[in-house]
């Protein structure tokens, strides 16, 4: 299934991202306040969305794997973690690059930024735990449990940093908040968002397949399957 679906997602992602990039960089009008600088939104928002989406995918497949003991799900969770971490990093990096000219600083201890950073640490913890356990079966189940603990914690962390921020200090830099975004700006953003999501599934399928192949490298069924095709 992965072999049939992966190219579809791959090409669709490429198409949508190209369309979104053209739309975002050339067709959408410049923002009246931020000029052309706002265009980084077309990378920033989709990757921020995917950083959370990937965690949900990872944790839910880990939970399915832990409860019903399906090995495939563990492979998928393992494949999703580095992708999710990369998107989280990308969201933070583009956010910083965006923040420098707009807010005048690379980093503010804003609630959203802090929550995103904590999310990155959760990904790191997950991958480190998986890497530290040699036995594959144990690594699967231990990291699955960690991912589930993380899911329970994400809302708590999110709200705690939000309250912390509001209690701590008034917003020194007014955020962009929710600008009533223009349709011409919105369409490329949606295209990019879909494109990034397709790209995520493409990566997930390819990486998941590689993960399964490397796990089952000594199994007879794999030798049979490869022998039949080659």
């Amino acid at each position: 299934m992965s072999t049939t679906l992966a190219p579809w997602f791959g090409w669709l992602a490429l198409l949508l991202i190209v369309a979104g990039t053209i739309g975002g960089l050339f067709l959408a009008p410049a923002d009246y306040q931020q000029g052309d600088g706002f265009r980084i939104i077309y990378v920033h928002v989709p990757s921020a969305w995917l950083s959370m989406f990937a965690y949900v995918v990872m944790a839910s497949s880990a939970a399915v794997g832990l409860i019903w003991r399906i090995k495939l799900c563990h492979s998928l969770a393992a494949a999703a973690a580095p992708v999710g971490a990369s998107f989280t990093f990308l969201a933070l990096a583009t956010g910083s690059i965006w923040g420098k000219p707009m807010w005048g600083t690379w980093w503010v201890w804003d609630a959203r930024l802090t929550a995103e950073l904590v999310l990155l640490f959760l990904y790191f913890g997950y991958m480190a735990l998986r890497a530290a356990i040699d036995d594959e079966n144990r690594a699967d189940r231990a990291s699955a449990l960690l991912a589930i603990i993380g899911v329970i914690n994400i809302p708590i962390i999110k709200y705690s940093v939000e309250w912390w921020n509001t209690l701590h200090q008034p917003a020194t830099i007014s955020k962009i908040g929710k600008p009533s975004i223009d349709t011409e700006m919105l369409i490329p953003l949606l295209l990019m968002w879909l494109g990034f999501t397709c790209y995520f599934f493409f990566l997930l399928l390819v990486r998941g397949r590689a993960e399964i192949l490397s796990r089952e490298r000594n199994k007879q069924w794999l030798k049979d399957a490869l022998g039949a095709t080659s």
Binding site: L129, A142, L145, L146, W164, L167
Partner: protein, 227 residues
């Protein structure tokens, strides 16, 4: 065979762990000594001026308490897993989650409670305003059980690993960040003379949540680590 009830098993486990802890009192005191030492580092590294210290005291007390609890979590289950006691507990007719909760309670009494008691001394040394001290103690009393429980969960996950140390901190810290936020907030608000019951209630809520969910997670993690 007569199987002891849940309360009895809990008490027996608690008493056993406390007795073991008191026989190695030096080891149990390590986190406390660490807590005091980390707080002494700040005046040395920054400046001994009372204004500055009073301003950073809430943060210093809470970060030190958090680090001390990290140090303590390391030793929570290690001994028992190494000498096979943990496998006996896992095979016992009582639920493993209850026994692990008893172990964590004992651990908290040995390492968490001393931090709460020590807090006024440390606070005073850092020129924390006197009226903030009762709130800080209350907040620490509510927060340290959460820290112990989260530490227990992660310690159960990593207990079988040879390179567990650094990993344990990496796993615990993101999860306990809310505790740090609310705890430091409580101390900060109290030293500013503000009403703190809201923040304390949040800390209590976190503690109850940890108390209800983490024994189950601990038991599941321990079973994974044991096989």
């Amino acid at each position: 065979m007569d199987v002891p009830g849940l309360g009895q098993a809990f008490a027996a486990q608690l008493v056993r762990d406390l007795r073991l802890g008191f026989r190695h009192i030096g080891q149990a005191a390590n986190p406390l000594v660490f807590f005091v030492m980390v707080t002494t580092l700040f005046p040395l590294a920054l400046s001994p001026s009372p204004q500055l210290l009073a301003a950073i005291a809430p943060g210093v007390v809470w970060v030190s308490a958090l680090l001390a609890s990290l140090l303590a979590a390391e030793s929570l289950f290690r001994q028992d897993v190494e000498d096979g006691t943990m496998e006996q507990l896992a095979l016992s007719p009582q639920p493993l989650s209850l026994l692990l909760l008893a172990k964590t309670t004992a651990h908290w009494l040995m390492t968490g409670l001393p931090l709460v008691i020590m807090a006024p001394v440390v606070g005073h040394a850092l020129f924390l305003p006197g009226e903030a001290v009762p709130t800080t103690m209350a907040a620490l009393a509510l927060a340290t059980p959460t820290l112990s429980l989260v530490g227990g969960m992660m310690a159960a996950l990593t207990v079988g690993l040879r390179r567990g140390g650094g990993l344990l901190s990496l796993l615990i810290l993101p999860v306990v960040m809310p505790v740090l936020i609310f705890g430091a907030r409580a101390t900060d608000m109290a030293s500013g003379g503000m009403e703190t019951s809201g923040v304390l209630s949040l800390l209590a809520a976190l503690m109850l949540l940890a108390l209800s969910l983490s024994p189950l997670a601990m038991a599941a993690a321990m079973r994974i680590s044991l096989d």
